[in-house]
Amino acid sequence: MATANAQLESRSRAVGGRAQSRERLLSVSIAGLFAVFVLSLSVGATGISLASLPDAAWFKLFGGDEVTAERNALVLFELRLPRTLLAAFVGASLAVSGALMQGLFRNPLADPGLVGVSSGAALAAITTIAFGNEFAKPWMDAFGVYGLPFAAFIGGLVTTLTLVAVAGRHGRLMMGTLLLAGIALGALAGALSGLIAYASDDRELRDLTLWSMGSLTGASWPKVFAILPFAALMIFAIPFLIRGLNGFLLGEAEAFHMGINVERTKWIIVLTTAACVGAAVAVAGVIGFVGIVIPHIVRLVAGPDHSIVLPASAILGAGLVLIADIFARVVVAPSELPIGIILAAIGAPVFLHLVLRRGVGGME
């Protein structure tokens, strides 16, 4: 009895401190993101640090004949900067997409891949990997090194649109149908992927495995510019989605009663998520974990209000992927690890620690 009371008290204290937790979470995570961003620019296999930045910038702007400056400029501006930006955009997109899906399905365990993006993108990627020299050759010739990312994006989008067409009736999106059709379509895409994998040789299989573990190793400016509009779209959409998602937490009917245009909000969420996850998967392969864990961590610390969950997820998601990518680049340099491995290795203990210390936030 006494312990029950004490538990209750400590829980209400924890909850009462939410307003402060929110402010602290936001300021700490923004500062952290900035620090990690700078760190990401300053470390790497070559050992070039930010001290070389002025030289490199000079070379970049005015040219020169100094070999070191040229190399520094290449590493800083063509490798690390796009890679850092890409990691941040991918992390933010995935984390916010996860939060959106969890809010939409009212399920804290919903995954950003729920609307079929990942499976569709994977099928398209696997197709270009396995048939790049056969029937997919014209496509690969047309898009060159961006053939795979572009195909993955299109594959993800087509899958989601198919799903939406199946689950939409008279302009209404049936969430149950969407969920089940998503599972069915995912299984179908998985079967096709498996069939193609079966027909692949070992090198193609190795490529597939690596792709499915995610990596930012191919980061380049075109990729940054490719994901930028989608990440920007998502950041721009956040303020307009907060109210709707908070309403959805109580249920679709309740959201409508509280003045939310339910159907429009659902469409926006599904399509934004599809575009963002599609773009993220296209440029970095399958990166799991971020979409589920980051929104969860935010909720554990600052509560489930989307006015904090969405922006904090964006910042923390970007930060986590950046940290993981720094490890991926440095740990086994000059080689590198797939980022998925690092993300799970860093994220899982942190997550477990939070869950054990704070409980699951009354989720049971």
Binding site: A45, G63, S220
Partner: protein, 313 residues
């Protein structure tokens, strides 16, 4: 050297830097040279080589330039010295641009399978000579690879010598092959785990080496490396089975024998199951003729002894 007008457009800056990178190549060649640095005929510094691809590394070592290698990829298993003493830039299909650059290479020699494409593109755009080696898993492909690498290293005469050595061995192999009266069918098992065999079908390096060794592939109806069912294994009825040695060395022989179908095949009945090193046998490096010869010996020595009363060397 070049004084470019200031441009605030970053895109133009990128273009400029790319242009400079390209121009950097001849600039480097024309620049003041230090005599001790080894160079190829184009004047490219070959003192710090990054070798990507097992066959590439093996050929560079064979040409005597192994000491100039600073880094290799994870598939460069032979000579064992390579992965032990050189830096490792990871699996050849998952390279990191900065990782490769961090080894400060003066020359990158990479198999055409190196990737991912964005990384090889970034590396090619850096002011470091990048040589792509392409050659199929055939005798001609091997000659091509040796010639390309020798040229990149400025060692064309040595390359010619190596090619002629290879040719000599190959013609000996041809001679031997003509003495084979009855061609055996061979099943190549890449891996056998949990009772499932991954075998080499048509258009694989395994198929090529089996042919060179004077045998025929028992599963030429398959294409690529594929899993094989027990029944299909029995149906293929190979006269001999070759199993690849696993990373940990030991158990591959037993794994293959444990496959339910194996005992029922002619190979299982006559115990014609051989374990061989994968890199050696299907690496298609300079040791390829030896590997083919070894395989041929394994496959036909007992026959020769049985039939003619004398072994084939």
């Amino acid at each position: 050297m070049l004084r470019r007008p200031t441009s605030k457009l970053r895109k133009r800056a990128i273009v400029v830097s790319l242009a400079l990178s390209v121009m950097g190549l001849p600039a480097l060649a024309d620049g003041p040279t230090t005599r001790t640095i080894p160079r190829n005929s184009a004047g490219v510094d070959t003192s710090r080589i990054v070798a990507i691809g097992g066959d590439v590394t093996e050929i560079i070592y064979k040409l005597g330039a192994g000491k100039n290698i600073v880094a290799v990829d994870a598939t460069s298993q032979f000579p064992p010295d390579a992965l032990k003493t050189k830096q490792n830039v990871g699996y050849m299909r998952a390279l990191s641009s900065e990782g490769v650059l961090s080894t400060r290479p003066s020359l990158i020699i990479a198999s055409d399978g190196a990737g991912p494409p964005e990384v090889t593109r970034a590396l090619k755009s850096a002011a470091i000579p990048y040589v792509t080696v392409d050659g199929k898993d055939t005798a001609d492909g091997l000659r091509l690879k040796v010639n390309q690498i020798a040229a990149a290293l400025g060692l064309t005469p040595l390359g010619k010598k190596l090619v002629s050595e290879i040719d000599t061995k190959l013609s000996k192999l041809d001679e031997r092959r003509k003495t084979i009266s009855k061609t055996k069918s061979v099943l190549f098992i890449l891996a056998a785990r949990d009772g499932r065999a991954i075998v080499g079908g048509n258009e694989t390096s395994a198929d090529a080496i089996i042919e060179l060794a004077g045998a025929r592939n028992a599963v030429s109806n398959l294409t690529g490396f594929k899993p094989l069912t027990d029944e299909a294994l029995i149906g293929a009825s190979p006269d001999a089975i070759i199993v690849m040695k696993r990373g940990d060395g030991s158990k591959s022989h037993e794994d293959a024998l444990a496959l339910p179908g194996v005992k029922l095949t002619p190979a299982g009945k006559t115990k014609q199951i051989f374990v061989m090193d994968g890199v050696y046998l299907i690496g298609f490096g300079p040791r390829m003729p030896d590997a083919a010869n070894d395989l041929m010996t394994k496959l036909y020595s007992r026959d020769a002894t049985d039939a003619n009363g004398q072994g084939v060397n």
